[in-house]
């Protein structure tokens, strides 16, 4: 009798936990390239470079009620555009990001918790140029009301907009600014991800 009561209690707890997991919604990036804007800012002696890409893949899963979630993002290196083709070639070359050997830049969360309102703190591993480093990002995750999504011509499904600014030091990822350009290129990139994701993928 006692054993069956314990078993029932455990069963109820497990069922409850599964129920809570089922509340998590998964949103997929990549279905709205024209709305994706991933930029990186680089200070150089020559000019301030504002590079960008609209290519992104991955997903974000979260439960806004419980304030927990996870995120995984991938950006293809060959899609990074600095506005000058020769500079793009340099950026993709083995001297810099080596797009052939390391074709993507990735971020995979370890933990994500809601701070307040639409603000989340996401900790995870950022991988670039074959090197992974822990990174903490304060992101804004905003649910898009169905009417606004429809008015903007977004496809069916629930949508969120994710805005995540952060900085990376190239040297920490094994990207050595070439000697010739040492006076011209800053080691730090300011990155900003603005991407839309929906439940239908």
């Amino acid at each position: 009798m006692k054993k069956s009561a314990v078993l029932m209690a455990v069963t109820l707890m497990v069922t409850g936990a599964i129920g809570a997991q089922a509340d998590d919604a998964t949103y997929h990036f990549g279905s709205a390239h024209q709305r994706t804007n991933v930029t990186f800012e680089s200070q150089t002696d020559f000019e301030t470079v504002l590079g960008s890409t609209n290519q992104i893949a991955g997903s974000i899963t979260g439960d806004t009620e419980r304030g927990v979630g996870s995120v995984s993002i991938e950006v293809p290196v060959p899609s990074l555009d600095t506005g000058i083709e020769m500079r793009n070639d340099h950026l993709r070359s083995p001297m810099w990001l080596d797009a052939e050997k390391y074709p993507t830049i990735q971020f995979k969360s370890v933990s994500a918790r809601k701070l307040s309102g639409t603000k989340w703190r996401i900790r995870g591993m950022f991988t670039m140029h074959g090197v992974s480093k822990e990174l903490s990002v304060d992101a804004d995750v905003r649910e898009i009301p169905a009417a606004a999504a429809k008015a903007a011509g977004l496809e069916d499904g629930a949508w969120v907009r994710v805005t995540a600014p952060f900085t990376v030091r190239l040297s920490e990822f094994g990207v050595k600014v070439p000697e010739m350009a040492a006076a011209k290129v800053n080691d730090t990139w300011t990155v900003k991800v603005v991407a839309f994701a929906n439940t239908r993928g």
Binding site: D45, G83, A152
Partner: protein
């Protein structure tokens, strides 16, 4: 050295030095007369701007409705005014789309960067013109021509 040849070389070298010296004030003039501080943005498409506007809340950065901005304004020259966005939400802002289909503006720091190296190159050239010995055969053939 032939005096007339010396004189010609000196004149050319002086001219090159003058050109080098003139570059700095020209760059400064270009900056002062045609320079303007703008916030460069990687622009969103129109539908996204509308969507961002509907999601905008008090305290959110206005520039981000229109695109991903640089962290601080940059000074650009030879700007076409019609390309500048003055947001209705904050008309004091001057946003300039750059990247994608938008043209890349000429930044003042680029002007000074090029000016610095142009001055250096011209001064070196003037030294070469003034002091590099011209082989006799070359100078004779030049004289015959």
């Amino acid at each position: 050295m032939n005096p007339s040849r010396f004189s010609l070389r000196s004149r050319i070298a002086a001219l090159v030095v003058f050109a080098a010296v003139a570059i700095a004030p020209s760059a400064i003039l270009l900056d002062r007369l045609f320079g303007r501080d703008v916030l460069l943005i990687s622009p969103h498409d129109e539908a996204t701007v509308e969507l961002n506007r509907s999601l905008h809340a008090d305290g959110d950065p206005v520039a981000e409705i229109y695109g991903n901005p640089l962290s601080k304004p940059v000074r650009v020259v030879l700007l076409t005014e019609r390309n500048v966005i003055h947001p209705a939400e904050d008309s004091s802002l001057a946003l300039l789309p750059a990247g994608g289909d938008a043209p890349r503006p000429l930044q003042v720091q680029t002007v000074y960067f090029i000016a610095r190296y142009a001055i250096l190159a011209l001064l070196l050239l003037s030294l070469v013109i003034a002091f590099l010995p011209i082989p006799r055969a070359l100078s004779c053939s030049a004289g015959r021509a």
